[in-house]
Amino acid sequence: MTTGSIEFGLNSFGDVPTDGDRTLSDAETVRLLVQEAKHAEKVGLDVFSIGEHYREGYVDSAGPVLLAGIATATESIRLGTSVTVLSTNDPVRLYNEFSTLDALSNGRAQLVLGRASQTQSFPLFGYNLEDYETLFEEKLELFMKLQREESVTWSGTVRAPLTNQTLHPTMRPGGIPTWIGVGGSPNSVIRAARYGLPLMLAIIGGEPHRFAGHVDLYFRALEQFGLPRQPVGQHALGLIADTDDEAAETWWQAWQPLVTQMGRERGFYPPTRERYDLELATGALFVGSPETVAQKIVRMTDELQISRFDLKYDIGGLPVDARARTIELFGTKVAPRVRELLAEREAAADASDPGASDPDASDAPQPGGHDLYPIGSTHA
């Protein structure tokens, strides 16, 4: 099932790029992000988001500050996070920062809450990784109360209690768009549904269609909680260049050393070129020419029913020019092409028997979630 409307976001973790044989300084990278956000706006992308990391090679540690700078340099693009590490943030502070950002940007603020795939913020701010679940659960409860209620009374174990507290500047009624980012844990999917919050699937490896079950789980959980359907988005990594070969080579040069380093830290061996090629062909990497990437995104709208697609375009050591080219092609070629393909299909579906299957989807592994996981368990 597709609908014609889809949003496109550009995600950055503030990865430090190269320029020729020079690596940019942290400060230069911070300023580059402002330029890239302006570029994203100019080519018509809908959202610019940054992550939250605390390690060498990433400059996105002070997200709201950076987004505030971008807010004053842009007009219309919405501004958010690709992941805010809620567990190690104070929800009250977070509210203040994002209500200020929303005011400053005239209603353009949003965010994705989740657990980053990196966890440096825990020791840095004095939290225990083992407490992750409790921290996230309690802080989400408080943060949503702050956004949804005028005056908040709350008590828990992870911060001081609040009594009839109102924060300023106050947010728009109901709060700002708040997504829950998930990386595959079914429990997190249920949590997003419980709060009626839209779901952002962070898919960074393997075949995306294996998340179809999670999407199904999400919709069924919303139903069970008596809540209306919410959008599903996908966060993916990739690079767009004029040709498939150029994209594949450029990305590999930066991706291979990065994943090797990650593997060293977590105890797995780096992927082979063969595995990489598979990730490009059928896996989670959106690396290729505009047509290749557009086709792949259209497939995601089938398999995962997404109505938002976020591309993380920066990985450490990527040349600034390649980043700029990705932004340009994403906005001017990929986004319109995806919309065109979706509109064509909708027109075709309208014209033909509504029960007929979509010809474009015939080579997709398993459209939708229902075919993959037929419902029919013995217990409810």
């Binding site: 990784l129 079914p186 217990h379 409810a380």
Partner: protein, 247 residues
């Protein structure tokens, strides 16, 4: 389309298949449930809390599996797979697993378990640790080294060219044979990689960790292990330990 048979009928038709219990209803637990249900096994599954908490997850992600408490799963299953965070191993109902075959699919993952020296000791494999926590059970290591998405995408019928392999490790011949049969039924080639002591070659830091290899690929990696950086580190730590305990 034929009706799916109720679980009871399937069981009656294949009376020899053991009931599989899975502790952990997360990424790995739900994938393993699906694989084993597809192979015709009866599957019981638990998270850390009440069955109600996971019933929707199981309904959608592993329909046919039965959600229970961890104690019920341990009690009612013939073979129990550990698919919970390793850092929580002390919450496993050890007494209910006495005499049972237990498959350890757990890994030390510091981003979940926190920094734990006891789980990251080159002298002791984590499955040896689990075996000493479950002294009256027969522990076999399996299903730990492959990423859950590869487990999900990988199953293939026996004899398929390039069928992917799962390394298994243990000391009890009969238990190993049972686990090999299970791995096979779930769509992978079982490859014996050694004893529980050797199973450190399946843990984080080894070439096999994260590997999505065929049987010969797994065998090659096992053969290479002693000469890898990690293999040498393990050997040195263990030699030092033996020297100490000898004096």
């Amino acid at each position: 389309m034929p009706d799916t048979q109720p679980t009871a009928l399937v069981d009656a038709a294949q009376p020899t298949l053991p009931t599989i219990g899975i502790l952990g209803a997360g990424k790995v637990g739900t994938v393993l449930s699906r694989l084993l249900l597809a192979a015709g096994y009866r599957v019981l599954i638990a998270g850390s809390g009440s069955p109600a908490k996971i019933s929707l997850i199981i309904d959608v992600l592993a329909p046919g599996a039965v959600a229970m408490t961890a104690s019920e799963v341990a009690r009612d299953s013939d073979i129990v797979i550990l698919a919970l965070p390793l850092g929580k191993y002390r919450s496993i109902p050890a007494d209910l697993l006495e005499g049972k075959l237990v498959i350890d699919a757990m890994n030390y993952w510091w981003e979940v378990d926190g920094i734990r020296d006891d789980l990251n000791d080159p002298r002791l494999s984590t499955s040896e640790l689990i075996q000493s926590f479950l002294p009256a059970s027969r522990v076999v290591k399996a299903y730990n080294h492959m990423g859950y998405h590869d487990l999900d995408e990988g199953p293939a019928p026996l004899g398929t060219p390039d069928r992917k392999a799962i390394g298994i490790a243990g000391g009890d011949e009969l238990a190993l044979a049972d686990v090999a049969a299970l791995v096979n039924a779930s769509g992978f080639d079982p490859v014996l990689v050694g004893t529980l002591r050797d199973s450190i070659n399946l843990q984080p830091g080894s070439e096999l960790f994260g590997a999505n290899f065929t049987a010969s690929g797994v065998q090659d990696a096992v053969a290479r292990f002693p000469s890898t950086e990690r293999g040498l580190e393990v050997a040195a730590a263990r030699a030092g330990d033996e020297l100490l305990s000898a004096t």
